[in-house]
């Protein structure tokens, strides 16, 4: 569950957005899209690990790919690492998207917002391999942070929205879904809470799975940093890292 993995490729995709590919035997234990790895960026500082969701699992090559935004101290340091260097990786952790919820012949709608886009890529790949049709809607702040549109296009129709209208549809992912009246059987989403909330409210009758982002400590469920409330209870809770990060809509309070 813990390994020094080797950096195979490390490239910048867009402004502050980096694609990191690692090789190691841990890859053989990675199966679920939506699971994450907990990465130790440096030996001493920063102290805590950084959770990065799996974007692509390539078991034949023994490689996995993650995409992250270099923003804080940890990810900025990570962005400086070069191919050939090793990184301490713990994982895979958490519970991913239920791929089996969409059956062959059905259509899955994948909705990603910003740095919530990456886990949907492995999900799209697994769907296409199992005969599920995929429609993808990706939302970004602005053109210069858009990534992976072409990659998603290889798996099905793909739409992009930017908040400032500098690329694709102006507005939010929900604007694209409404304007194009996109139909689907199961919805899978990952992104900021307001986006997840909007999707949950808009499709109360549908089967919807949401992947949450939350500030984590340990990543394994021990520190109680990333808890969220469960509906209709004062004290009941779920941990985003170990009960999630993927939850069925309605399971937790967003």
């Amino acid at each position: 569950m813990k390994e020094q993995m080797t950096i195979v490729r490390h490239e910048q995709l867009a402004k502050q957005i980096y694609e990191l590919t690692l090789s190691g035997s841990l890859v053989q234990t990675m199966n679920e899209p939506g699971q994450f790895v907990h990465v130790k960026v440096a030996e001493y500082a920063p102290l805590l690990r950084r959770p990065l969701s799996l974007c692509d699992i390539n078991k034949e090559a023994g490689e996995c790919t993650m995409i992250y935004r270099a923003e804080g101290a940890g990810t900025t340091l990570l962005a400086k690492k070069r191919p050939g260097e090793t990184i301490d990786v713990l994982g895979p952790l958490g519970n991913g998207f239920p791929v089996e919820a969409a059956k062959a012949g059905q259509r899955a709608l994948l909705v990603g917002g910003g740095i919530g886009v990456p886990p949907l890529y492995e999900l799209a790949k697994q769907f296409v391999n199992s005969g599920v049709s995929v429609t993808t809607v990706l939302g970004f702040q602005t053109k210069e942070v858009v990534f992976y549109e072409q990659k998603f296009l290889t798996y099905g129709e793909t739409y992009v929205a930017t908040v400032d209208g500098s690329y694709g549809t102006k507005g939010f992912v929900t604007d694209v879904i409404n304007e194009r009246a996109l139909s689907f059987d199961v919805l899978y989403a990952c992104g900021p809470k307001p986006m997840l909330k909007a999707l949950e409210q808009q499709f109360p009758q549908k089967e919807v799975y949401l992947s949450l982002e939350e500030r984590m400590g340990c990543g394994v469920g021990a520190c109680f940093a990333c808890v969220c409330h469960v509906p209709n209870s004062e004290t009941a809770y779920k941990k985003v890292c170990s009960d999630g990060p993927v939850f069925k809509a309605g399971e937790v309070v967003l």
């Binding site: 813990k2 102290l47 805590l48 340990c218």
Partner: protein, 313 residues
């Protein structure tokens, strides 16, 4: 002879390394990584009378060589801990130290009375030092008379030895330790976290929803060492030391300061295997340093007598 075996009131430890309370849940998460029976003991998450959700998120913020947390004593409550967590832990050959918390003295007494009856609870750790709850916690750990009274009340009802967890957020920790020893505590655990804060430079808002939190990790290790050094010379009850331990070398340093056993906290979050790794590394380090048994290390920094501090000299 097993050179790591340590005997403390109520505790027969196969080695002196245990995870610290609040950093290990009730063990379930780390049982996925290794056999919990390798641990000297387990200090389980603070238990209160009723279930608590704790504070809103964000609950953690990273700091240089450390982290702030303001979890707020989230726990399932006494009944669930007694019925589910402790029986589950009983499958492992490891003594449990139950961390007891509350909002009132009556709460502490009630929890202590019941939880000390659990067969695998070998000692209590009185949490009078949590900085993240509005009532109780640290409020009982900053005035010596109050801490002493609570210790007495809990000692009266507890069926196992009582250790009191000291807060570093006091002016005179020696005075506090002495008051608690005099009240009948069987041992001390120290230190809990230091009250701290971080502010977001973009929003000017505190990063933690609770505004302040407890600082832990390597950043606080020198403070823990200094406090254990002072307290261990002033009391005759044993000390379980904690505060930023992440290696076998750190363990020895805590022993030198005056600890008789140690707890590992934040380091579990960084490396789930840190406790078994430290335990495995200790014998070789004892060889290197020339000790037959780890207990020989306790208080070595002051027992040798060569470490007088000259203030203002």
């Amino acid at each position: 002879m097993n050179r790591l075996v340590v005997q403390l009131p109520g505790l027969s430890l196969k080695n002196p390394v245990m995870p610290a309370s609040g950093c290990f849940g009730f063990g379930r998460e780390y049982a996925k990584f290794y056999d919990l029976s390798v641990l000297g003991a387990i200090m389980i998450k603070a238990t209160t009378l009723e279930a608590r959700f704790g504070n809103p998120t964000p609950r953690v913020a990273e700091t240089p060589s450390g982290m702030l947390n303001a979890i707020g004593l989230q726990n399932p409550g006494l009944e669930k801990v007694m019925e589910e967590e402790l029986p589950w832990l009983a499958q492992y050959d490891v003594p449990i130290i139950a961390n007891v918390a509350g909002s009132t003295m009556e709460d502490y007494v009630e929890v202590a009375k019941h939880i000390s009856k659990a067969p695998n609870v070998h000692a209590l750790e009185l949490n009078i030092s949590c900085p993240n709850v509005k009532k109780g916690g640290i409020a009982f750990g900053t005035v010596p008379e109050v801490a002493a009274e609570l210790t007495k009340l809990v000692k009266e009802v507890s069926e196992v030895p009582v250790y009191v967890k000291l807060s570093p957020n006091v002016t005179n920790i020696v005075e506090m330790a002495k008051a608690i020893e005099e009240a009948g505590a069987d041992g001390l655990t120290m230190i809990n976290t230091l009250l701290g804060m971080r502010i977001d430079i973009k929003t000017a808002e505190p990063i933690l929803a609770n505004r302040t939190g407890g600082l832990s990790g390597p950043a606080i290790k020198p403070i823990a060492i200094r406090m254990i050094y002072e307290v261990s010379q002033a009391v005759s009850i044993p000390i379980i030391g904690m505060g930023g331990i992440q290696s076998a070398e750190d363990v020895i340093e805590f022993f030198y300061a005056g600890a008789s056993a140690v707890a590992v906290g934040t380091a579990n979050f960084v490396d789930p295997f840190v406790c078994p790794n430290i335990i495995a590394e200790l014998p070789a380090l004892l060889d290197e340093l020339g000790f037959a048994h780890i207990s020989e290390c306790t208080g070595r920094s002051w027992k040798k007598g060569g470490s007088t501090i000259y203030c203002g000299a």
